[in-house]
Amino acid sequence: MTSTTTNPETLSVLDRPNSYIGKTVPRPNLDRLTQGRGLYVSDMELPRMAHVVYLRSPYAHAKIIGIDAAAAKQLPGVIAVVTGPELAAVITPWVGVLTHLKGLKSAPQSAIAIDRVCWQGEAVAAIVATSRAVAEDAAELVAVDYEELDAVTDMRTALDPQTPVIHASLGDNLAFERSLDAGTVDAAFAESDAVVEAEFVFGRHTGVTLEPRAVVADWNPGDSRLTIYQGTQAPHMVQNIAALHLGLEESQIRVVCKDVGGSFGIKVHVYADEMATYALTKLLRRPIKYVADRIESFNTDIHARDHRCKGKIGVKRDGTIMAFEIDDITGIGPYSMYPRTSAIEANQVVNLVGGQYTTKNYRARTRVVFQNKNVMCQYRGVGHPIACSVTEGLVDLAAMKIDMDPVEIRRRNLIADDAYPCASPSGLKFELLSHHASMDKLIGMMNYDALRAEQAALRKKNIHRGIGIASFIEVTNPSAAFYGVGGAKISSQDGVAVRLDAQGSVICQTSITEQGQGSESLTAQIVGSVLGVSMGKVRVILGDTDNTPYGGGTWASRGAGIGGEAALQAAKVLRRNVLDVAAAILQASPAELDIVNNAIVNLDDGAVRIELRELCRIVYFRPDTLPPGIQPELMATRHFVPREYPFAFTNGVQAAWVEVDTDTGFVKLLRHWVVEDCGTIINPQLVDEQIRGGVVQGLGAALFEKCIYDERGQLTNANMADYLVPMSGEMPDIDIGHVVSPTFETELGAKGAGEAGTAGAAAAVSNAVNDALKPFGAFITEIPLTPQVILSALGRI
């Protein structure tokens, strides 16, 4: 596997001696985690802590007639059995809507179901006991009397008049609808030499985290404060929501987020069972721990991607794409998720389709419907994989129709690298992208022509290999346009505070969070570089609302671009402050001095003037020796939010090389390439591994992962044996290259990189499989591409 970079940009503040920017340095948390000394919520024990198990509905839709917990309450070790109405005394219900998603509606959702369950897995009672095992024993003794109701499961018929309405108060099962009509679509189709249509089907899947969702909630009546230990991506969001629904001030809630065993967007939401756990500690006045087990994770962790999207493309014989049109539908479960809502993915699909191409003619509609299945919401790549698969699938279909090479048709339509700034038909603003440079680089890395020759040679031997290309755009560094403008109290700004201790080490508090992607590392790299301090002397504190600045956290590929810029700016101020003090001590001018390698040096000859450690000693213990009037300020705080562009768009292109066994329908992934442009690269290894991890999740979607529901709304494969996550044995080598187009909205120039891999991987694989199947006249627009799907398409079974 290779990793290569072209045109690395150098940046003033960061282009300093001993800069860590652009270097692969080991992450500061590596030893702690590899030595098993991390602190995950799952491992936490507090005095008097009790464990909660949620008894969950076996039905997708049912009335709760009665709950008899008498026997369960008798079991030794059981502390309480709490039902929905009982818990409602301490926590209010919520409605997952945002005002900028016009017309989005949802029904009030309670922490524990009150009189009706709306999906298989919704909690109907909390059993609190001295251990999880006892609570599970007790759960078996709780008798719930249900009256099963008709379940709405098929999104295609959810809006039919004969389908029952899940929430009568809403009038119908339509949560959200959006239409867009840009340019002159009908005329463009009329002028096209070929028009191709297809329906793309995406399996519902989920993000499988190594550590399940976990909370320890501890209400301390003594100081009227609630401490929530939770593996979350957004501690301040959790603080706000918990306060709102428990009737507390935000200052009464502290959210602590230590190590998190994987997240991928699964842990950026607030779940009913987590809310119930906060409420239970208030009710029972003792620490309560909730750790989802694997089965309830499958049944309650948000699902994603369940879309059916009809697409249409018009193309000229010379390859010019004339127009795109899509009609998308998605089923999101019975409630719009709180607080980010379940309309975002569909909204993204409408925003993103065709966004990498020049055509201005684009019509789209999406409909988001309720069903009696688990809730759906944002998971790594939100909407991008769907938009990319539809767009790139259509482009390949068009290419096939006019008999043009897939790379060639893309080259003729991708927005030119010198056309920026510009906007997409859906109104997305692009500051600077590099579609063509990226494509050129990819073609070189994969040796496209040689691969085509190999493909042709092997075909003669009845070996069917395919090449798939997928270019994409990606939303990163979101401003308030994402959630804030819609009324969600989810901060889009982040803050970083840096200070020197009395020995010249740096303590850095940041509002972004770490779930394995390297937030801690990139923050230390930036602060160390800007300050001139070695990374080992920078300690980064994250995930604690009492001890970090206010901010959004880590999601939507925003940690490096937004939190990183705040770190840079804070470190710059601290550096200035240090140099001011140094100048006073040394009777020099700050402009003649620099900080390098933990010491104040002369800017011109690099001679060491005073160690930082010594400067700190003087400032903290002998301020009496400083010149009069000097008040050193060895702490600085800065916040940052993008203001000019609502999102920093990035771009990239992926390619897959696969072999299809046409007798068995099995697909072998032979190799995968990605060229990606995330602007300034802070840590190449972190970026590359983020991309690889993202690709693997995309490959999971392409070939393996699917939550399989039956017609009664039962999730039938809620375990690790039947829900197939991608594993290393099936993964190809993934080569990564970069093109660097920094954003000029920040000094750092970094855009997001965490979701790029997921955005295009499935599209590349689908296109590759279809390329392999070309001699058979089959074209599949459904994922996962299981052997059953492929054999059916080939007419073999």
Binding site: S131, R132, A133, E136, D137, E140, D293, R294, I295, N462, D663, T664, G665, F666, F704, I708, T716, N717, N719, A721, D722, L724, P726, M727, G729, E730, T786, P787, Q788, L791, R796, I797
Partner: protein, 293 residues
């Protein structure tokens, strides 16, 4: 996902284990490698009152060749099968099959006795035993019984074992001069149970198959010994002969449908395996391509 409470006994001898089983009947469960039992207990699919751990019974461990029989003790772990020179020499089908069983961590604990007693219709070892004409040796209060592998597996997770019996060993005839074998399965991921699999043991005389046992797995409630094999014996195998065998196979198999595969897909894959098996055994790759499917 915590098992409900249970009692635990560590058996001190085979006799002691059998006594415990006899005393507690179907409320007790033998614990061998625990790789199937523990997940089932943690999922509360079963809640035995007593666990009889046979881990200390060294007499149940080990691989030995006596005369023309290869004997494998029930406690022999998958990894031991994988690494055994005796198994590789005398029953290479097992050496190959075992690479498809789960992952290294599971193979380090899982045992052949556990796998056979568990009798998962998708498991590799039961079918291999049927292909190899193995004898399963069990011991109970009334003494030892020898059961032909073909008769041992009686249904999904069901065997001829009585609740008070312990599986102590298996014996397979050692490979003969012209013995050949074939093992393959279609699994979505490495280590998964196969959607369809085939363990085959044959005797090849020049380009003629003089014996052929085709034990399919994942196509029924137990390993299925395909009678289609008889169509291929003692004849020059032409595409037409293979096609006829393939059709017979399609008729005799009655596979189940599940999330991975429909009935017709299972039949189809079984035929693919037949063609590939015969092509491999006879060293004639052309037989596995084309119309025979």
């Amino acid at each position: 996902m915590k098992a409900s409470a249970f009692s635990y006994a560590r058996a001190t001898s085979v006799v002691n284990a059998i006594e415990l089983l006899a005393e507690h009947g179907d409320r007790a469960k033998v614990l061998s490698g625990g790789q199937s039992l523990m997940p089932a207990m943690n999922l509360r699919l079963i809640s035995p009152e007593l666990i009889v751990d046979i881990g200390d019974l060294t007499e149940l461990r080990g691989i030995a060749v006596t005369g023309d029989r290869l004997r494998i003790g029930a406690l022999t772990r998958h990894v031991d099968l994988l690494n055994s020179a005796d198994v590789a020499k005398h029953a290479p089908l097992i050496s190959e099959a075992i690479t498809h069983v789960a992952h290294a961590a599971i193979r380090n604990r899982g045992t052949i006795g556990g796998s056979l007693a568990h009798a998962d219709p998708a498991a590799e070892l039961p079918a291999s035993m049927v292909a190899l004409k193995a004898t399963i040796i069990v011991e109970g209060p009334a003494g030892e019984r020898q059961i032909a592998a073909e008769d041992f597996f009686t249904g999904i997770y069901e065997t001829a074992l009585e609740v008070d019996e312990l599986l102590v060993a298996v014996e397979v005839p050692v490979a003969q001069r012209n013995s050949a074998h074939y093992f393959s399965e279609f699994a979505r991921r490495h280590g998964d149970y196969g959607i369809v699999g085939l363990a085959a043991q044959a005797v090849v005389d020049g380009d003629i198959l003089t014996d052929l046992r085709l034990a399919y797995f994942s196509v029924g409630d137990r390993p299925v010994l395909a009678m289609a094999a008889t169509k291929l014996l003692n004849v020059a195998v032409t595409p037409a002969v293979l096609l006829e065998a393939s059709e017979t196979l399609g008729e005799e198999l009655d596979p189940q449908e599940d999330q991975q595969a429909s009935v017709s897909m299972r039949r189809h894959l079984a035929k693919v395996l037949l063609a590939r098996c015969v092509a491999t055994l006879l060293g004639r790759p052309e037989l596995s391509a084309g119309e025979v499917l």
